[in-house]
């Protein structure tokens, strides 16, 4: 929506810097994750968010630490967008004691309740019902908070996701369902697995307002979210926002992607939210290249620092294996 974009372009330079910093932090964080993964420093598997930065950062742009988000297996970007500490994240992803979850969670279970981040979720469709619960808390407390459930196109088909939308409509809670449609659920295209012509339209038929925006355009996402927030914060009602993105890389780090032709991959990578953003803000001379490059350098240092700290950090003490199962038992 051109309207929205121009509106967003009236952001303060500070806001723009923060947005850029977050997007670029995600990009560099994920690139480092890939590198450390290849080096054998990250156990298990990891799903990076590269190519989708504008979606997560745009969605979280007008949220505060008091608002809630529920995330997915591809959650690093959401964490950073919501303000989680990147060092704590990197430690967690390496399974180290000092990680955000003391090494017990890992890439697919990062949470930070102090930032309103209710957890990545390794179960596809796991977060939407939980996010409705957080929205219910906000409604009960009448504190104006909202709760965002991130889902992918694949997760948009899961029964729990549909149930959550209906529940949010019935209970009239300020839940915002964000569907990041990156065209794939693992190795299967959304065009195959989503039987509906449109995820947003399908959501709308549940009785909520719904919208689809270009998820590689930070400003379009912010604009869409402002409509959602308006409905959620002032009317206490749910909303669905589809953000179309492209997955620059494989489903997981190391996915050889034989199911995507080089042409498709090149086209997917050509849609780059960070390049987009840089072009837009420099075009209108709100930020200049030198400033952006300066931010890049700062982020590079921060990521390097986080990675070094994580590499050097100890694994959890074995005595913690059986702690924190319960509050009391």
């Amino acid at each position: 929506m051109a309207d929205g974009a121009s509106q967003a372009l009236q952001m303060s330079r500070d806001e723009l810097r923060r947005a850029y910093r977050r997007m670029k932090t995600i990009r560099m964080f994920e690139e480092r994750v890939e590198k450390e993964f290849a080096a054998g420093n990250i156990p298990g598997f990891a799903h990076v968010y590269i190519g989708q930065e504008a979606s997560g950062v745009g969605v979280c742009h007008d949220l505060t630490d008091e608002d809630y988000i529920g995330s997915t297996h591809r959650g690093h970007g959401h964490c950073i967008a919501k303000g989680c500490d990147v060092k704590g994240m990197m430690l967690e992803i390496m399974g180290k004691a000092g990680g955000l979850c003391h090494g017990k969670g890992g890439s697919m279970h990062i949470a930070d309740l102090s930032k309103g981040m209710l957890g990545a979720n390794a179960i596809v469709g796991g977060s939407p019902p939980i996010a409705v619960g957080a929205a219910l808390t906000a409604k009960m407390r009448k504190n104006g908070r909202v709760s965002v459930a991130f889902s992918g196109d694949g997760a948009s088909n899961q029964g729990t996701t549909f149930e959550a939308m209906n529940m949010a409509v019935v209970l009239k809670v300020p839940a915002i369902f964000v569907f990041e449609n990156n065209g794939y659920g693992e190795h299967t295209a959304a065009s195959y697995a989503v039987g509906a012509p449109s995820i947003a339209e399908r959501a709308r038929s549940f009785g909520l307002m719904a919208d689809c925006v270009d998820g590689s355009d930070f400003f379009a996402v912010v604009d869409g979210m402002r409509r959602a927030l308006d409905r959620a914060r002032s009317e206490g009602l749910p909303y669905a926002l589809e953000t179309t993105c492209t997955r620059h890389l494989g489903h997981f780090v190391g996915d050889p992607q034989p199911y995507r032709t080089p042409d498709e991959l090149a086209a997917a990578r050509a849609v780059d939210p960070i390049k987009n953003f840089r072009a837009r803000v420099t075009d209108v001379k709100l930020l200049d290249l030198a400033e952006l490059d300066g931010i890049d350098a700062e982020i590079a240092a921060e990521i390097e620092d986080a990675a070094q700290a994580a590499l050097a950090a100890p694994f959890p003490d074995l005595s913690t294996l059986e702690t924190d199962v319960y509050s009391r038992y």
Binding site: L100, P129, V132, T160, A164, L171, Y326, R328
Partner: protein, 335 residues
């Protein structure tokens, strides 16, 4: 002390806790009932009547009727719990757990551990268990093993009205997810229940009857059956020690082991299928930790490895019944 039914006892516990703490809410299908109807809401109070009157007292904000979507019910409750409420979610029959098990066992039960101890999930899941209700294979199961198995859950099986109230209050005040299993066949059973709030702690077994010959342990509705058989056998001089663990997780190993150390014999009466059930669990604890004291094989009295049949005569045979319990006790005494 005033006499109240098991149903009333639970109602009273929830009502008192809702008065005490505005964060306590109730949600589920027809927990109020009548939403959107011509007669208006609040007329049902959950299909077994356990929540009667709560809507009238606390209103739609705290007694929330939901659609028939159990994953969303538990997920909503879990998310609300993590963010500061103390929800009591109802799953009408434990059998329905199959449509929402993920939100129980992978989500609510694991938040705390996965998040490194940084989450608190004060959630109570109330549901009903037990055969004998003539309700067929999908409305009659006794699924406490399914929950007991799950690290992160606490599992409560009140066997009488007094415990029902005290354990419910304990469950609501507990900061972890608690599965509260109500025996349908006990709803109308009466007991002495104080009017004021009180707590029955988790992990402390109730020794209903002391005895030196054999330890008989059972849960939920089976406690009464075990006690009944024990009373009968007492007439012929057989002294059973009857134990009700009250909660299966945490489980009071000490009381059981002490008892077996005295009696040397154990019969476990458990209404659930025989494989990987609570009877096996309890048996294995004793076979590991009180082996030396054992004078006879440990007998399990469970349901057979079949779904719950509908025909009343088959269903009665399906459940552990006094005849089978008595036979098992006599067997271990003879061994």
């Amino acid at each position: 002390m005033p006499k109240k039914s098991y149903r009333q006892a639970i109602n009273e516990a929830i009502r008192q806790e809702m008065r005490r703490d505005p964060n306590v809410i109730v949600l589920g299908e027809d927990v109020a009932g009548g939403q959107g109807s011509s007669g208006g809401p609040g007329k049902v109070g959950s299909v077994f009547g356990v929540l009667a009157g709560l809507y009238d007292e606390f209103g739609a904000d705290r007694v929330l009727d939901t659609p028939i979507t159990e994953s969303a019910i538990i997920g909503t409750a879990g998310g609300a719990a993590m963010t500061g409420l103390r929800p009591i979610a109802e799953i009408m029959f434990a059998d329905f757990v199959g449509v929402c098990f993920d939100q129980i066992y992978n989500q609510a039960a694991k938040f705390r551990y996965m998040f490194g101890g940084r989450a608190k999930t004060p959630l109570v899941i109330r549901t009903t268990i037990g055969a004998g209700f003539r309700a067929g294979a999908q409305h009659s199961q006794t699924l406490h093993p399914l929950f007991t198995m799950v690290p992160g859950l606490k599992v409560v099986m009140p066997a009488n009205a007094y415990d029902a109230k005290g354990l419910m209050i304990e469950a609501i005040r507990d900061d972890d997810p608690v599965v509260f299993l109500e025996s349908k066949l006990l709803y109308d059973s009466d007991g002495e229940v104080p009017d004021e709030p009180y707590r029955v702690p988790f992990g402390e077994a109730n020794v209903l009857r002391e005895g030196k010959d054999v330890t008989v342990i059972g849960t939920g509705f089976m406690v009464a059956r075990a006690a009944q058989v024990a009373a009968e056998l007492a007439k012929s001089g057989i002294q059973c020690e009857v134990i009700d663990p009250r909660t299966t997780s945490p489980f009071d190993e000490d009381t059981l082991i002490e008892s077996v150390q005295k009696t040397g014999r154990l019969v476990v009466v458990d209404e659930s299928p025989p494989r990987c059930g609570l009877a096996a669990d309890i048996s294995s604890i004793v076979a590991e930790k009180a082996f030396k004291a054992l004078k006879a094989p440990i007998r399990k009295v469970t349901c057979p490895h079949t779904p719950v049949p509908f025909a009343p005569n088959l269903e009665d045979e399906y459940m552990p019944n006094p005849r089978r319990i008595e036979a098992a006790i006599r067997e271990v005494l003879a061994a």
